[in-house]
Subunit: 315 residues, 2 copies
């Protein structure tokens, strides 16, 4: 099978591994690319020199295409982009910022650019900026999220109707069934985060992976809306955030509560109570930590079975 | 095509029209049933005598199966149920309460019973209660909603894994594409609200219908979480609710703000600024007011096309 996404990125399956802070280093990215998807190094939690090291290690670990995810609001953005271009990274996914700022510069170096959005307004800006693909991320996704709270089920048809650029669905996708649902809604491919965060090759702390497999429905909530809406996993820190929200705390109070380094503390160092744990709603459906090759094989098998089964539903 | 849902209700298409306050009287219910779906009279906004009248009119308007939706917390519940049994209504959808309270009584009269839930805990209670079908409603749905905020994309696979009872997906479904997505996720049929609320046969005020077609993404929000989480459409009343939420108002303050009769005022009487307007996120995708027969034909056509197109995606 070839479609817009597999052709664009020259990959076997239209499965993108979301770039995630503290989870997606070279091991995860190269494993996903080797298994036929597109692996992304998450630069959001890396200093420039660390990113350089991860890029070089990824190149050694796979001869398949891979990419780097870059949050555009990152303070060291210039150094990050310089390294990406120097190292001739073939694909860049940008997020959290204006797609016009970097798209043309990267494309002039032969880099394929995708940008992550959560509403139609930004999808249209992406098209104006000339990005090669758009990731539309629904309310159920982990980490930072849109203010409209539009779920994947409602978001994908809206974005599909508004743009003709290749479209990747994200948020709530952790199975071949959900992949088929995303394609039915109008996406050309999927971006998967949480399921890969809990994989053997993910670089987050083992105790965080374990906690993801134990998460139940209702255990994540879109929180910190007075700062930047972020989907958090229930723990002591989250309970404090919740208490502040019920009390109507001010943005300054939230900022002080959050402090700095909480995400690293939780996801990388394994402080499950005081750390900030970012994960998607679909964590409630994840119950084992598996190697990437096994995860992707199962995604593809279940996707194909789901499509076959749908045929008997013709009305 | 016959499946668990079409066989259970003896209908042509696995499409249920959600019972909605102020929208779903006899005209809407009979039109949906005549078009091959299952129409439901929404008793939540009716006094017992009004419901009786709507049941009798529905019987005259269609010889197809139809049902009544009953919120179990309704103060006049005993009279409502008595009328339903007297009138030999073939199908009842219950919601907002314990499915054990009425299921067996209704079934002993030959009535088929479905119950609406938004989490696995209540889905399991439904199975224990012996309901004939379960409606699982995601975060994007209009009106009253679950506290877990689980979206349809994440909810349906969870409920599917937990139960074997026929499963109807609700929330965010307003197109044949979304219907196919819901079936891919594991549902046997769909329940559609917002799209039918904006139909010609819906009994809500014309100006409310018009507003639904004008709604854009982000225009609905799950609100009133300190009372009962309810998805509202943006207007002056909603802005007041939002202000109270930012300030951390108490449940008592919310109750006073809400007052009584606000839903009728907004949806039935057409006071678009001071009324409580309940509608789903999918309203952003609805742009015309059409007759039910046209809506259902398009749903079925798009559903079939989507399934056919998916075949070319086999990996």
């Amino acid at each position: 099978m070839q479609n817009k996404i597999t052709e664009l990125f020259n990959i076997k399956y239209p499965i993108i591994q979301g770039g995630m802070v503290w989870c997606s280093g070279w091991e995860l990215a190269s494993a996903v690319s080797n298994a036929g998807g597109l692996g992304l190094i998450g630069s959001g939690s890396m200093h420039p020199e660390t990113l350089k090291d991860h890029i070089q290690k990824t190149k050694k670990a796979t001869d398949k295409p891979f990419g780097v995810n870059v949050p555009l609001l990152y303070s060291e953005i210039d150094s990050i982009m310089e390294i990406i271009m120097e190292e001739k990274v073939p694909i860049v996914f940008t997020s959290a910022g204006n797609p016009k700022t970097w798209t043309k510069t990267l494309q002039s170096k032969g880099i394929i650019v995708a940008h992550v959005i959560s509403n139609t307004k930004f999808a249209l800006r992406c098209e104006e900026a000339g990005v090669n693909a758009i990731v539309a991320e629904g309310f159920e996704a982990g980490g930072h999220n849109g203010r409209e709270e539009t779920t994947t089920m409602c978001l994908i048809p809206q974005i599909r109707a508004a743009i003709s650029t290749p479209l990747i669905a994200a948020g709530g996708i952790g199975s071949g069934q959900a992949m088929a649902a995303a394609i039915a809604l109008g996406a050309d491919g999927v971006q998967i985060g949480s399921l890969f965060a809990a994989s053997q090759e993910s670089s987050c702390h083992d105790s965080f992976k374990q906690l993801i497999t134990e998460a139940k429905e209702g255990d994540t909530k879109l929180s910190l809306k007075k700062l930047a809406p972020t989907r958090l996993l229930n723990n002591e820190f989250y309970q404090k955030v919740l208490h502040y929200e019920i009390q109507g705390a001010s943005p300054e109070e939230f900022k002080e509560l959050l402090g700095t380094g909480r995400a690293k503390k939780g996801m990388f160092e394994g402080d499950l109570e005081q750390g900030e744990l970012e994960i998607g709603q679909v964590s409630a459906l994840i119950d084992t930590i598996k190697p990437i090759s096994e995860i992707i094989n199962k995604l593809v098998d279940d996707f194909n079975k789901t499509i076959s089964n749908l045929n008997s539903f013709q009305l």
